[in-house]
């Protein structure tokens, strides 16, 4: 296949081999780890800043505005300027706050998002870890972030934060289920949990099309549930600026607040990546049946571009949610999960299992 020319495993393998030739095994691993850390740190920062900028632009366009346009060309450095501003802000420690948890919370949200990022395949051979239970791992890790939010709200010794924390508690106990079950639908179809293998299985067609109806339902449910899971859009109850001023991060200032902000956007990126990987074939190009010429052209587009494009589309959809819908109330949040998403999900899994058993999928 032509797009195999973009195989990154040979590139990483080459780095590995050349390092091994140059130094001892311990230092090889050490150097590789440092390289990995630096690469992901840079990636994390760039994606975070770009997403904040993108969100500002997208919402501005939806609201008939221009958006950031002062710092740098097209306001591209606005986020950087904001970051620098936040760095220079005083970190205020609230009276009688639970100091340890208060300081621990930003660590937890960032660590959770970093861990989830580790397992995402950006292109063939371009992933940090490729666990055989990759999907399960991502689900588990990404739900840790909400714990950070809960801790942040609880430890702040502010009433608004506490209500925000309680709300995020309600969010934990509902939307994790739907995320898991909607991904389970695809696992039934794929028969594996390894993310690289899931992508590989979509070589001849994305799961969204392969699994037709149940996969589409699962995709929609995943979008809804994951939006709730990352505390965004109509589900930003823990933050709810019109009700709780700023909810869980009311008392956070300066760079600590920035980390919550950053983690929110990174979580959005991770969720979009998972959706792209599991439903839209990750870095696999779009192939349509027997249109060989078309398929061939598609193959020449680098896989990373495919991956980024798909992720961007899903991020756009998640942003669209936020800038269109009113916020749900807390009891509606639970009603939506338990009375709508969960029953539909359970039914959907059975439907998919049935389809797979009968061999009716593509």
């Amino acid at each position: 296949m032509p797009f195999d020319i973009y195989d990154f495993s040979s590139f990483t393998g080459w780095i590995d081999a050349s390092l091994r030739a140059a130094m001892s095994p311990f230092w090889t691993i050490f150097t590789e780890f440092v390289l990995l850390g630096v690469a992901f740190l840079a990636f994390y920062a760039v994606v975070g800043l770009l997403l904040v900028y993108a969100e500002r632009r997208v919402c501005a366009f939806m609201q008939c505005r221009v958006g950031p346009n002062r710092v740098g060309p097209w306001g591209l450095f606005q986020t950087v300027a904001d970051l620098i501003k936040l760095l220079f802000k005083e970190l205020i420690h609230i009276k009688k706050a639970d100091k340890i948890l208060f300081n621990l919370a930003p660590f937890i949200v960032i660590i959770a998002s970093f861990f989830a990022l580790a397992a995402i395949p950006f292109a063939k051979g371009l992933h940090a870890v490729d666990l055989n239970i990759g999907l399960f791992y991502v689900m588990a890790v990404s739900s840790v972030g909400v714990v950070g939010i809960l801790l942040a709200g609880w430890s702040s010794n502010s009433k608004y934060s506490l209500i925000g924390a309680m709300r995020s508690g309600a969010q934990i106990i509902s939307y994790e289920l739907s995320v898991g079950l909607s991904l389970l639908v695809i696992v039934v179809l794929a028969g594996t949990l390894q993310l690289s293998e899931i992508v590989e299985l979509q070589r001849d067609g994305w799961f969204l099309f392969k699994g037709h109806l149940p996969a589409v339902i699962a995709f929609i449910i995943f979008l809804i549930a994951s939006t709730a899971e990352i505390n965004r859009g109509p589900f930003d109850l823990a933050e709810a600026e019109s009700e709780l001023t700023a909810g869980f991060h009311t008392e956070y200032s300066g760079i600590k607040f920035a980390f919550f902000f950053l983690a929110e956007y990174m979580n959005m990126f991770i969720v979009a990546s998972i959706a792209a990987t599991v439903f839209l074939g990750g870095w696999m190009p779009l192939h349509i049946g027997s249109w060989d010429g078309f398929n061939h052209i598609m193959d020449y587009i680098p896989p990373f571009v495919w991956y980024a494009g798909k992720t961007a589309v899903i991020i756009y959809i998640i942003m669209l949610f936020k800038w269109t819908f009113p916020r749900l109330r807390i009891d509606q949040l639970l009603t939506l999960e338990w009375k709508y998403l969960l029953p539909i999900n359970l039914f959907n899994i059975l439907l998919m299992a049935f389809l797979v058993l009968m061999g009716w999928h593509f």
């Binding site: 997208v58 669209l320 949610f321 269109t324």
Partner: protein, 157 residues
Amino acid sequence: MLFSYIKGIFKGVGTLFTGMGVTTSYFFRPWTKVTQKYPENRKELKMVEAFKGEVTMPHNANNEHSCTGCGICEINCPNGSIELVTMFLVNEDGKKKKAIDKHIYHLGMCSMCGLCVKTCPSNALAFGNEFEHAVFDRTKLTKVLNKEGSTLKKGVE
């Protein structure tokens, strides 16, 4: 019951999509933007004629105004933002005549009600279109409306 449940889901999702349609359509129509880039468009930015920016006293080319110093504007101002310092001039006939020395206007206290302009018997006052009044020092908002060395227009009583 099951039917209405399913119908409810479809109807609800449908309304969500119509809402998303509105925002998306604006997203893809950049020409609907209404933002004005303010300091850049200063040149084109023209306030309408009636805009009440500040109270001014128009002077003609000979540095003449038509304020007789009657004090009606001072009485009519609800906030006390106009103060008149008057003096007596002796004209050619040797008669003493009241005239303004300083027409002091406190922009910071003005609420742009327009009573001074409306009630002025000799139409000496008018609204100016200036709207960039920001200053660092509050005292700069106190202005003297009649210009240095200005005199009363001929024929204004």
